[in-house]
Amino acid sequence: MSSSASAQRWACANLKMKALRIVVAGLVIAALGGCASYAPPQAWEKQYLALPAMQFDADKLDAKNIQHVYFSKEGSAGGYGVGGGGCGCN
């Protein structure tokens, strides 16, 4: 079923706000990439960074299960990665 004219009007009406959010997101990403001037720790100062609690998604199966629950009960999902395929749950 193709998008309706009403859908296109709705999309245009929100375009400015969406563009602003995308620009803000891009600036944050660029700011992170521009942290060359920040003084990061030396190799011998990274013992705390190696802790499992400091890792993103150290428990892979837990993250998989929980994100699947949210995907099936909420409007949309994303941000954690790509390539998982789909399901009939959403």
Partner: protein
């Protein structure tokens, strides 16, 4: 997320590339020191006032194994056994007898990652099968890091091809194809803090309609832009770690959302650890969602849905995870989370009206063995 006392040498984590709804990726700048096998069992139940809805029993297995000094393989297998009643529209439950339906889903995936001096390449495939839905996906990811390993850039690309045949034959051979892109940066900020920010873009075309929802008719394309930022900071004086996550989603369906999650990992004596957490989620309704009564707002040839998952609502998830490190590389964990979704909880108001609160709880037990 369990925490253990003492650092693991050489285990600095880079950008996390986890798959939405499937499998998180191995994220490191070198092959892990050890492999591990993990089994988890998730028991899920949901309900609305006066009626039980779905129950899902979900055993799953995950294995990660270094194959050489520069090659690692990982994969998972999961099974969902589903039973109960789901809404035909709004809060009206399916099943003529009220007993609902039963269904299943089995899924598996494999990823191979090759590490080089300053970058890694990972290739993965995934497959899932349900009575009425088959999905096949492939992905590739490239990560590169600075010489001091304090910054990592991640690039991901994936494609999936889904086939839908449902509703007792009324829907046959429908297809949905999705392309996903990811760009992420992970930056070590200090000896005790790290931040990661990912942007993913998903572009899909095909059959998005839910054939089990009355009058459901969704657009044949969907674009989702998601921006996820996560921050972890360790506090040595308390031996605890703060974990923060924020995500914004821009959705061509109109269900734009914001999510904020906070957690604290606290090691305890004798190998125990506890992780309380709280998540808040709020979304707008899809532009083709119309509130009760069913059919209100329906126009011939125009998209329509009475699926409450595309309504405007807010949701809270308090939870707690308890873990215990055992001898010889064994560990066990128990997670309990409660979820509630209400229109009145939408941030800023303007939540969808005329709907019952939706509640769920899940209990997950797990056991892990390193080798």
């Amino acid at each position: 997320m369990a925490a253990t006392r003492g650092p693991r040498p050489g285990a600095l984590l880079a950008a996390a590339l986890t798959l939405p709804g499937v499998v998180p990726q191995a994220v490191a700048q070198s092959v892990p020191d050890t492999g591990y096998i993990q089994f988890k069992y998730l028991d899920y139940r949901d309900w609305q006032p006066g009626a039980r809805r779905m129950r899902v029993e979900n055993p799953g297995l995950f294995v990660l194994k270094p194959l050489s000094e520069s090659l690692v393989i990982e994969g998972s297998l999961v099974y969902d056994g589903m039973s109960g009643a789901s809404p035909l529209y709004f809060n009206a439950l399916s099943g003529a007898s009220g007993e609902g339906v039963t269904d299943y889903r089995s899924a598996g995936d494999v990823r191979l990652t090759k590490y080089f001096d300053r970058f890694s390449i990972g290739v993965g495939v995934a497959y899932s099968h349900e009575r009425d839905y088959i999905s096949r996906a492939g992905s590739i990811e490239v990560r590169t890091w600075t010489a001091d390993k304090n910054r990592t850039y991640a690039f991901g690309f994936a494609g999936s091809a889904d086939r839908i045949s449902a509703d007792e034959g009324a829907v046959q051979g429908e297809r949905k194809n999705v392309l996903d892109f990811l760009f992420g940066i992970t930056q070590v900020l200090s000896p005790t803090s790290i931040v990661q920010s990912n942007i993913t873009y998903s572009r899909g075309h095909g059959y998005f309609t839910d054939p089990y929802k009355l009058l459901d008719n969704r657009p044949d394309h969907r674009r989702i832009l998601a921006w996820l930022t996560r921050y972890n900071e360790h506090f040595p004086s308390r031996d605890g770690t703060l974990q923060l996550a924020y995500r914004y989603i821009d959705d061509s369906f109109g269900a734009d959302s914001n999510m904020l999650e906070v957690a604290w990992v606290q090691p305890l004596p004798h190998g125990w650890s506890v992780r309380p957490s709280l998540r808040y989620y709020t979304q707008k309704s899809a532009f083709f969602y119309f509130g009760p009564p069913v059919g209100s707002g329906l126009r011939p040839g125009e998209p329509y849905t009475a699926d409450t998952r595309l309504s405007a609502f807010g949701a809270w998830t308090p939870g707690i995870l308890v873990a215990k490190q055992l001898d010889d590389g064994w560990s066990v964990d128990l997670k309990l989370e409660y979820y509630e979704q209400r229109g009145s909880w939408r941030l800023g108001g303007d939540g969808s009206e005329g709907l019952l609160p939706f509640s769920a709880r899940w209990i997950q037990v797990g056991v892990t063995k390193t080798f």
